[in-house]
């Protein structure tokens, strides 16, 4: 609906040329200053974002380093607990994967081989080499093993049995109140498992084998064969009929009595 008189009346309301120019220039000035304000604001926002991103990155780095350290500490604690249980002290730089230990493990094996023959397992896949504080674990001389109160401990992670085997070599008399060849048991753990150990002595040396959860007296046939083959390979020990599992022919036994 149109009313031409109203249209004509409104047509008379127009900004004149100078007013038009004034308004447009004022608007453009405002536009220009607004853009400046916006660019300053964006610059500030950008700066804040960069600052926050830098802080977050720093936080992430600190967290990662902290996490890594706590893991290392955790591993050490685990080792300490394990060593405390066996009466040993962690040797510095103990993880096998460390360069230092990788280099020394074959040498340790040589030491063990020289004194006791070939020990099972033949290779240390994973695990840690621990020692009593002060022991010259990497000494050229096997005499170090005979030093009083010094103990050599090797821990093997046996994947096939899902267990850990600790072999401890120490001067005789360490377990003198227990008849050697007897299977001894540790206290039951929270998960219901318990450790079992057995030891032999000869010529002033005691060698003890301790499984973290495998019962030596109830070991499966294949494992028992390998285990006693290993014990016999420690050639400084002479088996006799009193030893459990010994059948007089130096052949592996099927099961511990």
């Amino acid at each position: 609906m149109k009313n031409y008189k109203i249209i004509a009346a409104w047509n008379t309301v127009d900004p004149d040329g100078s007013a038009d120019a004034r308004m447009l220039s004022a608007i453009l000035r405002a536009h220009s200053s607004s853009q400046n304000r916006k660019s300053i604001r964006y610059a500030k926002i950008k700066k804040n974002i960069i600052l926050v991103a830098a802080c977050l990155t720093l936080l992430a780095i600190v967290s990662i380093v902290g996490f890594h350290r706590s893991r290392i500490e955790g591993n050490k604690e685990l080792l300490e607990q394990e060593s405390e249980a066996s009466g040993a002290v962690i040797h510095e730089g103990a993880p096998v994967n460390d360069t230092e230990v990788k280099l020394t493990v074959p040498f340790v094996n040589e030491e063990i081989d020289a004194a006791f023959g070939h020990l099972f397992p033949t290779e240390i896949a994973e695990g840690y080499i621990l020692s009593e504080e002060g022991i010259e674990l990497y000494s050229d001389s096997p005499d170090a093993l005979h030093a009083e109160y010094r103990t050599l401990i090797a821990v093997y992670d046996i994947k096939e049995m899902d267990d850990t085997l600790l072999i401890e070599v120490s001067p005789s008399g360490f377990l003198s109140n227990v008849a050697y060849g007897t299977v001894l048991y540790g206290d039951p753990q929270i998960d219901g498992t318990r450790s079992s150990m057995i030891y032999y002595e000869n010529e002033g040396i005691t060698i003890l084998y301790r499984f973290a959860k495998t019962d030596i007296a109830a070991m499966d046939t294949a494992s028992a064969k390998r285990f006693y083959a290993m014990i016999r390979s420690a050639n400084c020990f002479a088996f006799n009929s009193a030893d459990p599992g010994y059948e007089g022919n130096d052949e592996p036994v099927d099961r511990i009595p």
């Binding site: 008379t12 004034r22 308004m23 608007i27 607004s34 853009q35």
Partner: protein, 166 residues
């Protein structure tokens, strides 16, 4: 159609050229003197620059400007120093000479503020009642009522000279 939120000077100038007459008339309907009208027009366009709204079409752009101009003017008129005297008296006391108005324009300008924008949009811009209701964000019945009241007043003031033509 400019959809970008960041407009160049050229785009602002083009937008201004497209809508200055409409915005000026809406503002004049409220302010009734060129100086205040100019200020209101500038404020309207500056709001557009600051808020940088994205428009779907030129109609959307125009509707936004009409509504903003109307709000700007009402805010100015509501301000405390304006309230110290009645609006009608304020116009009379204005130092500036008002724009010479025809009888019809004078009659329209003397309508209450709430009717003037509706009359301008309906009779001059050709918007329907529904469209005006959308632009001014008021119920359609209110706009219909405003237009009806405005027509009654104009008929009373202009007599036979106020003739509606289809």
């Amino acid at each position: 159609m400019t959809k970008s939120l960041l407009r160049t000077d050229k785009e602002i100038a083009e937008l201004y050229a497209r809508h200055i007459n409409t915005v000026y008339r809406v503002c004049y309907a409220y302010m009734r003197n060129p100086s205040d009208t100019e200020d209101a027009v500038q404020d309207t366009f500056i709001r557009l620059i600051d808020r940088a709204p994205a428009f779907e079409s030129e109609d959307h752009e125009k509707a936004w400007l009409i509504r903003t101009a109307s709000n700007v003017c009402r805010n100015v008129l509501k301000h405390w120093w304006r309230k110290r005297v009645p609006i009608e008296q304020f116009y009379d006391l204005s130092v500036e000479e008002p724009t010479p108005e025809t009888d019809v324009l004078q009659a329209v300008m003397q309508l209450p503020d709430k009717y003037k924008t509706a009359v301008f949009l309906y009779y001059y811009e050709g918007y329907t009642g529904a469209e005006i209701a959308t632009i001014l964000k008021k119920p359609q019945s209110t706009i219909r009522n405003h237009l009806h009241e405005a027509r009654m007043i104009l008929r009373e003031r202009l007599g036979d000279t106020f003739d509606e033509e289809l």
